[in-house]
């Protein structure tokens, strides 16, 4: 489990370049939540760059309540066996043993996720200890840089998972990018105050101020439910999108399973195309015409009680 293991051949695994590099390969792509091997196959067939193996999609976690844990090992293995694209899985915030188990299963990326019930209210997993890379959620620059300091090799804006409402995803991405723009115009002495206020290391903050971007890939998540949503996040500067309930909770009223999966596949394919051609309204119109007319019904975040919001977990 120790990172950076070296052999006599000058070859090393688990390096920062290798961990953040996989996220760079996922750029411009769509990572889809799946709860069965069959859904994973549909996701791959639609052009997903990776799947997130889950027991329940966030909208069901929201509905069912209870404690949401790492997915069952059997399910993760089934999904790994069914596709050739990378398989990601979620561990609870701070639950480093779930992460150790996922690493030993050969999961390609671990999402330390606010969508599951929090296991440690004070500490996140020390991710630099692992050879497997981690992605973490963030609502603002401080959260993003704290997660990167702990070893996250990829960031996703949190949004509000399981709602199908894009409003929080937009807020979080605009917040991070706005904060980075402000940093870039700061004088050297002001950066120290910014580091203090954001509770992040000055070296990391200075690097962001200089390059004008996060040192890792940043995807958007939490609320994408249509090709237009996906393209909106890409135009706002996301480098790719996670889609949770938006695909396999669409067409939910279709009772015939094959018909329903076909409709969901149409939604998945349309979102993939929208992420590639996000700046081309003509193609966006074409792909939007091809989606089922019963997108996920969704929940308006503005009408949710605050204690049901997931994004505030783990800051």
């Amino acid at each position: 489990m120790s990172a950076n293991s070296s052999t006599e051949n000058n070859s090393s695994t688990g390096t920062w370049t290798v961990k953040s590099g996989l996220a760079q390969m996922l750029k411009g792509g769509v990572i889809m939540d799946v709860v069965t091997a069959q859904q994973a196959e549909v996701a791959q067939e639609s052009g997903a760059v990776a799947v997130m193996a889950l027991e329940r999609v966030p909208s069901d976690i929201r509905k069912d309540g209870g404690v949401a844990r790492m997915s069952h090992v059997k399910l993760i293995k089934e999904i790994q066996a069914s596709v050739s694209i990378p398989v990601m899985a979620k561990a609870r915030i701070g639950h480093f043993v779930e992460a150790q188990i996922l690493e030993s299963l050969g999961v390609d990326y671990i999402d330390e996720s606010e969508v599951l019930t929090v296991a440690d209210e004070d500490n996140h997993i020390y991710k630099s200890d692992f050879s497997v890379p981690f992605v973490c959620g963030a609502r603002n620059l401080g959260e993003a840089l704290r997660r990167i300091s702990e070893g996250a090799a990829m960031i996703r804006t949190k949004g509000e998972a399981g709602t199908g409402d894009i409003v929080e995803a937009v807020r979080h991405l605009r917040t991070i990018n706005g904060e980075i723009r402000k940093l870039s115009s700061m004088l050297k002495d002001e950066l120290f105050t910014a580091a203090k206020n954001l509770q992040v290391p000055i070296e990391l903050l200075s690097a962001v101020a200089e390059t004008g971007k996060l040192p890792v890939v940043n995807f958007s998540a939490g609320g994408v439910a249509s090709p237009a949503d996906a393209a909106l996040m890409m135009q706002l500067g996301a480098e790719g999108v996670f889609v949770g309930s938006g695909i396999f909770k669409s067409a939910a009223d279709i009772t015939n399973e094959t018909d329903r999966l076909n409709q969901q596949k149409a939604m998945a394919t349309a979102i993939v195309k929208a992420v590639t051609y996000f700046e081309d309204p003509k193609i966006l119109a074409e792909v939007s015409e091809a989606i089922p007319d019963n997108a996920m019904r969704g929940l308006s975040v503005a009408q949710l009680p605050t204690d049901e919001l997931m994004a505030g977990r783990g800051n």
């Binding site: 000058n10 290798v18 750029k27 760059v49 990378p86 890379p133 590639t276």
Partner: protein, 197 residues
Amino acid sequence: MPKRPLVGVLALQGDFHEHGASLHKAGAEVTEVRHAESLKNIQGLIIPGGESTAIARLLIAYNLTDPIRGYIKQGLPTWGTCAGAILLAKNAPDLDRPTISVMDITVQRNAFGPQINSFEEDVYVDGISGLPMKAILIRAPIISDAGPKVSVLAKLSDGSIVAVKENNLLATSFHPELTNDHRMHGLFVKMARKYNQ
């Protein structure tokens, strides 16, 4: 100052920005290719790293496969890294949708297993003098077989072939675009400079 050739980077999915930045530093102008029309004036084409299944589906959906193959057959210098190498290979048994398929190589997808086995290793590349290159191998393919007209440019310490050249085609399992070493991009820019459509 030698003239800066115009090099296209296939920009359907993957690390095309990183290739663009490396090409700039290696002396090329860069254009992103998402439509067949963009292939018209380029002197070189890079097919980046990414997920080969995703890129293959988009190549098919937007009718890019035949135009790209056509330009390559006319001599367009083309370089595939990782997923790009898989798409260029005539024989990629683990890819369910063959697309460009022009290079006389067999490529084994994801040859080292899951991400925890991804690694970096110093390799000497034929045609690149001086220090070895840092080969970054991320869920990487290896070139398990190469035809008689293909020259092997680099092997790992375990003997796996990770860089090959066949006339105007270049394929690498690794990602020079993820490093600050732009010598391989320099080599490709040289090939592009010599080519006029």
